[in-house]
Subunit: 546 residues, 2 copies
């Protein structure tokens, strides 16, 4: 027997309309050069309608992919809503990818149009001639004389502001099905070509509601939220959608992502929630050692994309009174999967024990199911010890990759295989101990590179550390630590200091066979340690223990 | 183009499983006689599984309706989950209805089984012989010798505890579609037979998530929540579902609903959120004048089902430091429709102005659309003045009534007509000025009975007040106020006092033509003023102004 409730589709149209009706005066602020661009939800709403008309006039039809190459800004937000609400598919391109990867992705997605920040036009120069499906390029921001040569080579180009100015601020949105595609994002694996994840309206809608729940991110109309995580990285963790749904004040940093930019923005805009990868916050932590900012407006600094070292969580709390909220997710999971909030019965626990909980990746958020499978395909017990690959399931988890046959191996019995090796403790907190491919196999034992990295990064004189597996004739693999010392140390950091520290925390056989100091650790386009590149750099390296 | 996300159905099975996996040690406490029954989510989970097996053995199949006649308790909660999760439909019966109404409802819904509290068996006595479809009765609580005669007349009867004890604590839940029916509840209109609202899993699931959002009720695992609103009244406003989803501590008052019971429970159990109709809280307010309780654990007292007088909101705040959260909903809307939280830009407003906002019914919660239509079918402006009938739309709003042709008139263009006359102000706050049928038509003007009632109830010597329309030869209708003075007043309350007060707030023509003092104002089964009965009582009444 069916229920007798309304068939009300969960689409982004509801979010846009609600934002305008209930929060027309709420502000959206974007850092543009040395100043701030500010307007209200009402202004955003009107321009989004104009943009939808412009898209229609450019020939964009339902289901067409519209790509963006852009920083976090109000214009990008307009595209976030106009494109899906008119029935097309928003395709955010990672501007840090190589030209080859971008060409592959754009052609594979068959993007019809590309909206690009003027400052990013040099990217186009390298790829435009190879794009097979793009009919039109729209430039956001005033073009300069230097751009003229490039622009003449394009099949069609428009200025974003001129385009909007020519349109009416009304648009009759089509009726959408909640399962219609709304957005897509390619994820670059460690091998092969990037794979496309295709988000539905329903997935993004439920994910937005999920982020507003009291025990997840509690996104509220009383918040001022700054997504530092790029809008081309899993939709800036869905925050532009959940902020708009809640009616929160929005702050976009544009391309200004240096620790000083962020500290200044938090201070000036009274940001309550900021979200980004650990390296960003490690940078901020370093800055706060020498400069003072009033960051007291912060209620939560959300950290995801890579594991937050416990030492970082502790230092922000103890030295600056700032609360880090550790979360985990993937492009394939929209991305919110787990959040490491403290449970009711832990509130009286000693601080030290609470930090240990908060350094885990956390509890599965409502609507997401998690489990761990061991190598025999058996579900691991929730004992905090047994390791297994994390599997997830839920309405905002991908069911496959766009036009890609490699999808099959990523699923088992309707669950998505994350490739993360985890434990789940009796309280339900998931902890990533490694990526399946980053575990170090030493003899019959596994060594967690993540555990070693986190431990080394707790050393007060270490800035960053990555640990990789290096082939070893006797043990198969052994760990090598690549470490960046803090700047201007006197006396310089020594291996012995680090070993002394590690020896207290790990059995002897788990210690790295060597420690190498480098100026900087290679990172991926989204700020994670790029193990692939580090391995290449040390391909010829010979361990002293061989 | 379709999105490529998992088809993950939003069903109550997810809520049940999640509660067990993440909050097995969380407590559910029920007042049973002079003591408390306590167990954990793990215990609840196990018994719910046993109950599902018992239902199957009693012959309950998918889509079958299983009725309850019960107070708020852990056993009722078990039914809330076992019945829908095994694919059947939970049908909560309002135990305060007349025998005739109950017989109609049970036969109309074709209930297969009835689960009834032992203390409520006298209800069965009057209706059992007329029930056409019920195959079995299950009694919750130990039966007494006095029950024996009744029980022998039933076609089949079982004891709830014996039933559970005989079953296994495992059950293979069927795969459900999220649009499958999960629960039903009949609403008694002012005319004709009650009408059935049939909730789907999807509707209840989304409603549960909706109640956990930071800007609605913010239901959290760190809360202790006591639904005083009956579990047969729009699913206790959905709280048993949202509490379980969040992993909150649950407190059920059983049949103990006197102000002293509630004050004692809040104090002893450290309740953070309590929910009920205004008359309950008015009773508590009166109690607090003479007795002292520590109610400091409360973060929110949710009031709905009828308008909360502003004076009550103010008095709780000023005299007791307690925060009332005003909400609006109907059986047809699952029920949460609006919540009167304060917006970010109102936080610095003078207290008086904030109280005025909080006395409105509030902002539509996410996923619910609201609009007002005037008599010409035109949408009213959001100016806080123009009145219109409230229309709502959303995934948890009913699309019709169960096997009932009267449904058609309740809808217009896919919107549900609430019958409430409202204004919506520029901030988006909806305020009920009256029911369509409770407005008083005086000459060419409308008078709001609700506004008069609220004003009279602000008088410090008035306990309760209802205002009805009385026929008038010249003006068509004129208002009559029916007032209950506070007990033991010296000197007694006079009409003149009330008129003096009202004259400062209303134009002369809006003042009641008379004020009548009564010992008690008739109330409906869910605690609202029963205007129908009051009108009957005063059917022969002749206004002094005629």
């Amino acid at each position: 027997m069916r229920g007798l409730m309304m068939e009300y589709p969960l689409t982004l149209q509801h979010i846009l309309q609600r934002a305008y009706r209930f929060f027309p005066a709420q502000e959206i602020a974007t850092k543009v050069g040395p100043t701030m661009h500010r307007y209200t939800y009402a202004g955003f709403y009107e321009r989004t309608y104009r943009l939808a008309n412009a898209l229609a006039r450019l020939g964009i039809r339902r289901g067409d992919r519209v790509a963006t190459i852009a920083w976090n800004s109000y214009r990008h937000l307009e595209l976030y809503f106009a494109v899906p609400c008119m029935g097309a598919v928003l395709h955010t391109l990672n501007l840090r990818l190589s030209p080859d990867q971008l060409v592959f992705i754009i052609n594979h997605a068959e993007d019809k149009a590309i909206f690009i920040d003027q400052t990013l036009l040099p990217i186009l120069e390298k790829i435009a001639p190879q794009l097979e499906t793009v009919k039109c390029f729209v430039v956001m921001g005033a073009t300069s004389a230097a751009d003229a040569t490039l622009l003449t080579t394009l099949p069609c180009h428009e200025g974003y502001e001129q385009l909007l100015a020519a349109e009416e601020p009304q648009f009759a949105w089509p009726e959408l099905d909640e399962n219609d595609a709304a957005a897509m994002c390619y994820t670059s694996g460690t091998t092969g070509n990037p794979k496309g994840v295709l988000y539905s309206h329903r997935a993004i809608f439920l994910h937005s509601i999920g982020e507003c729940m009291a025990d997840t991110l509690a996104v509220s109309q009383s918040d001022t939220i700054m997504p530092v995580v790029p809008m081309f990285h899993a939709n800036a963790w869905g925050l532009p959608f959940s902020m708009t749904l809640a009616g929160a004040r929005q702050v976009y940093p544009g391309p200004h992502l240096h620790p000083r930019d962020l500290a200044e923005l938090i201070q000036a805009e009274r940001v309550t929630v900021a979200a980004g990868v650990p390296t960003l916050w490690l940078g901020l932590l370093a800055l706060l050692e020498s400069e003072r900012y009033d960051l007291s407006s912060i209620r939560e600094m959300v950290v995801g994309g890579a594991a937050a070292p416990q030492s970082m969580i502790e230092r922000f709390a103890r030295e600056h009174g700032l609360h880090i909220l550790h979360a985990w997710g993937m492009t394939e999971t929209s991305p919110l999967g787990t959040v490491a909030g403290i449970k009711y019965y832990m509130q009286d626990w000693p601080e030290e024990k609470q930090f240990a909980v908060r350094a885990k990746q956390g509890l599965a958020v409502p609507m997401v199911d998690v489990r761990g499978l061991d190598e025999d395909g058996q579900e691991i017990p929730w004992d905090g010890k047994t390791q297994g690959e994390l599997l997830v399931r839920g309405p905002w988890v991908t069911a496959g990759y766009y036009h890609d046959k490699r999808g099959g191996a990523a699923f088992v019995d309707g669950w998505f295989r994350t490739g993360d090796v985890v434990t789940i403790d009796a309280d339900g907190y998931m902890q990533i101990v490694d990526r399946t491919k980053d575990l170090i196999k030493s003899g019959w034992e596994w060594i967690s590179s993540v555990a070693l990295e986190n431990a080394i990064m707790t050393h007060p004189r270490v800035a960053e550390a990555a640990v990789i597996a290096v082939p070893h004739p006797r043990w198969q693999e052994r760990p090598l630590a690549v470490v960046t010392p803090k700047p201007n140390l006197e006396p310089p950091l020594t291996k012995a200091e680090i070993y002394e520290d590690l020896a207290q925390k790990f059995p002897k056989w788990e210690l790295p066979d060597d420690i190498v100091f480098v100026d900087a650790i290679p990172k991926t386009s989204v700020g994670k340690f790029d193990k692939k590149v580090i391995r290449q750099q040390f391909a010829e390296y010979r361990l002293p223990t061989v």
